[in-house]
């Protein structure tokens, strides 16, 4: 290989402009696909009564009908239309995941803010508390909490808030510490801003970006955990149409594959959409990932 081919030039960076374009575009494609699917699910959730062909709770048909033109996703063991149940399931999973993530972000973010702002022993105590909650695999701690409080969808959300706030606390604390020491915050203090105003005006806006990324990535996680708890029978209770408990239903009526397949597909596509979105956002906002992207391949 003595002669330089265009490929070598490309690799060596002489055609870097093209490379840069490619590099930036691809992840955005993934994020855009995620945004599109997530949007589709939001639309389905909002307009569920218009989209669903039947009442999700009506037991009007023969049980275990195969998917057909009349019932695209078939019917379940009580003769309910599976498609309608999947559509209405979006009305439960999406808002609950959103609520769960907002609550965790608010609580964890608040604690992280306090920790990073006061430092010293307050920081020490709060961060040891965070370590403690990280010591449990999430679903196991959530199971203990729901078992102690009693199984219901409300308690499942509470339990998942208990297990998911610590990651926000840790991230926000780190950001507040590093941003608090940055030159522009110090100069804003020098021109006479009080610490509280500096925290609100200079620090908080810069904490928001990474927290949004974390929350978007967490949204998918929250849906998975919530569906998991419902699958275990510790979340939504029958006859509510919830994706996780519908899969559990399918597990009990194993040979009728359509009972579990379609609600599972709904969980998968919506979680994947949020993960695509969060992944793209992280690449767009994370300076380290960008620095890596700019570097040449060895």
């Amino acid at each position: 290989m003595t002669e330089l081919t265009p490929r070598d030039l490309w690799r060596g960076g002489l055609l870097r402009t093209r490379v840069r374009q490619r590099r930036v575009r691809r992840p955005r494609g993934i994020a855009a696909a995620g945004a599109l699917v997530a949007l589709a699910w939001v639309v389905i959730a909002v307009f569920a009564p218009l989209i669903a062909p039947h009442d999700p709770l009506a037991q009007n048909w023969t049980p275990f009908l195969h998917p057909s033109r009349a019932h695209l996703f078939g019917t379940d063991e009580l003769g309910r239309d599976v498609l309608s149940r999947v559509v209405f399931g979006a009305r439960l999973s999406l808002p609950l995941a959103l609520l769960l993530v907002s609550l965790s972000a608010a609580i964890g973010g608040g604690i992280g803010l306090i920790s990073g702002y006061f430092r010293g022993w307050v920081d020490g105590v709060l961060m040891r508390l965070v370590d403690l909650f990280f010591a449990f695999p999430p679903i196991i701690l959530a199971m203990v909490v729901t078992a102690a409080l009693g199984p219901s969808i409300r308690n499942a959300v509470l339990a998942l808030v208990v297990v998911s706030w610590p990651s926000y606390a840790r991230v926000v604390r780190g950001l507040v510490l590093s941003i608090g020491n940055s030159d522009y915050v110090l100069s804003s203090r020098l021109i006479g801003r009080s610490a509280r105003v500096a925290l609100l005006r200079d620090v908080l806006p810069n904490v928001a970006g990474p927290v949004v990324v974390l929350a978007t990535l967490d949204l998918g996680n929250a849906m998975l955990l919530l569906a998991g708890l419902s699958f275990l029978g510790l979340g939504a209770q029958p006859p509510v149409a919830e994706w996780g408990s519908m899969v559990a239903n399918g597990a009990q009526n194993f040979e009728f594959w359509w009972l579990a397949t379609f609600p599972g597909m709904a969980i998968f596509t919506s979680v994947l959409a949020f993960n695509f979105l969060g992944d793209g956002l992280r690449d767009a906002l994370d300076p380290r990932a960008q620095a890596q992207v700019e570097d040449a391949k060895p």
């Binding site: 403690l132 449990f136 695999p137 679903i139 078992a147 998991g228 194993f254 599972g264 993960n275 060895p298």
Partner: protein
């Protein structure tokens, strides 16, 4: 004696102790970590204690079940045993004392001591988790290295989508589909359970069937156990494969930028030699740090899928005890899993600190 001590001899007193400490960074690092581990474990018992006391209503009723509540002597004995008539801090100390003596309470559902139940169910889950983590390590690291080497090409983007799909899959759903397709439809995989119905387990050594069968030389049983393991282990590995692919990719990318890799390439070493001898060796410590996370994922997954595969492990035990509100059992499981989890993280931390001196400072 370290050079620093020779150059700067200290008189007796606290300064001497400090310099003794400073001259043994590894020991002080390990001891500090161990102290943190002990504190964390104490904290875990605190959390489980608070949760058991959260139960609305009478703890005696919750722990003894409806039948025993009618029996006043049983209730009185229960109250005495757990010091329920004493103040909370004292109750906590009594709880700790029980834990130290291995008393995790009695399961309401099986009527066995929880410790006994855990001992029965742990080997099955250990076997499943170990095999699945092994699969995840091999597949995940390979895919991660490939993604890093083919960075920003089509392969990388495809792998990115695959790994995101891996962490987005509801594992209980995939388990169900896999069982339906490979067992019910195709008949490639054996059905649920650890062995074929009617087959005898190998002589009990560890309770890990594949290991016991291997040691006792029962090849039929070994094959039987392995074939039952494959499907749940692969399903359980999915999440971890996604995680490891992403993680390995970024760790390898960090290493690839180093000058010594360029030098190794430049002096004409074959690509594979460079990857194995230089890149992977440098990237592995960073990859090892996720071992704890892999374990946590495997535990989460086994809670969700063991019921589907009728796998008699602690995942299924946790599921049954949580759904029947059997608080001593589910608390026992969470206590065990959490302490094991922080211990794994402790070992990983120490290993990492010993390998990489830069970590010890923090």
């Amino acid at each position: 004696m370290p050079a620093s001590e020779l150059a700067n001899p200290q008189p007796f007193g606290p300064g001497r102790l400090a310099s003794w400490w400073a001259s043994r960074p590894v020991l002080s690092f390990v001891l500090r970590r161990a102290a943190a581990l002990v504190l964390l474990s104490l904290g875990i018992t605190c959390v489980t204690f608070v949760l058991t006391n959260l139960v609305p209503g009478d703890p005696a009723a919750a722990n003894l079940g409806q039948l025993a509540v009618g029996d006043p002597t049983a209730v009185a004995a229960f109250r005495e045993h757990y010091g329920l008539n004493k103040p909370l801090p004292v109750q906590y100390l009594i709880y700790l004392d029980h834990l130290v003596h291995g008393d995790l309470g009695v399961s309401e559902q099986t009527h066995n001591p929880v410790r006994h139940d855990l001992a029965t169910y742990i080997p099955a889950t250990a076997e499943l988790a170990l095999i699945s983590i092994g699969i995840a390590l091999v597949v995940g690291i390979t895919l991660g290295v490939v993604a890093a080497l083919r960075r920003n090409r089509l392969t990388d983007h495809v792998l990115r989508v695959i790994s995101l799909a891996g962490v987005s899959m509801p594992i209980f759903w995939i388990a169900l589909l896999a069982l339906y397709v490979f067992f019910f439809r195709l008949g490639w995989a054996p059905g649920s359970g650890r062995l074929d119905p009617g087959a005898n387990p190998p002589p009990h050594l560890t309770g890990i069937y594949t290991f016991d069968a291997l040691v006792s030389g029962s090849w039929g049983t070994l094959w039987d156990a392995l074939s039952h393991l494959m499907l749940p282990a692969i399903v359980l590995a999915g999440w971890n494969i996604g995680l490891l692919t992403r993680y390995t990719r970024s760790a390898v990318l960090d290493v690839l930028q180093e000058d010594y890799i360029r030098a190794a390439r430049a002096k004409g070493l074959r690509s594979l030699t460079v990857i194995f001898r230089h890149v992977l060796r440098a990237a592995l410590p960073a990859i090892v740090t996720v071992l704890g996370l892999l374990f946590a994922n495997a535990m989460t997954g086994s809670v969700l899928i063991e019921t589907i595969f009728a796998w008699p492990g602690i995942g299924q035990y946790a599921y049954h005890s949580a759904t029947s509100l059997d608080l001593p059992a589910i608390t026992g499981v969470s206590l065990f899993v959490a302490v094991l989890y922080v211990s794994i993280n402790f070992v990983v931390d120490v290993l990492y600190g010993v390998i990489d001196p830069r970590i010890r400072i923090t």
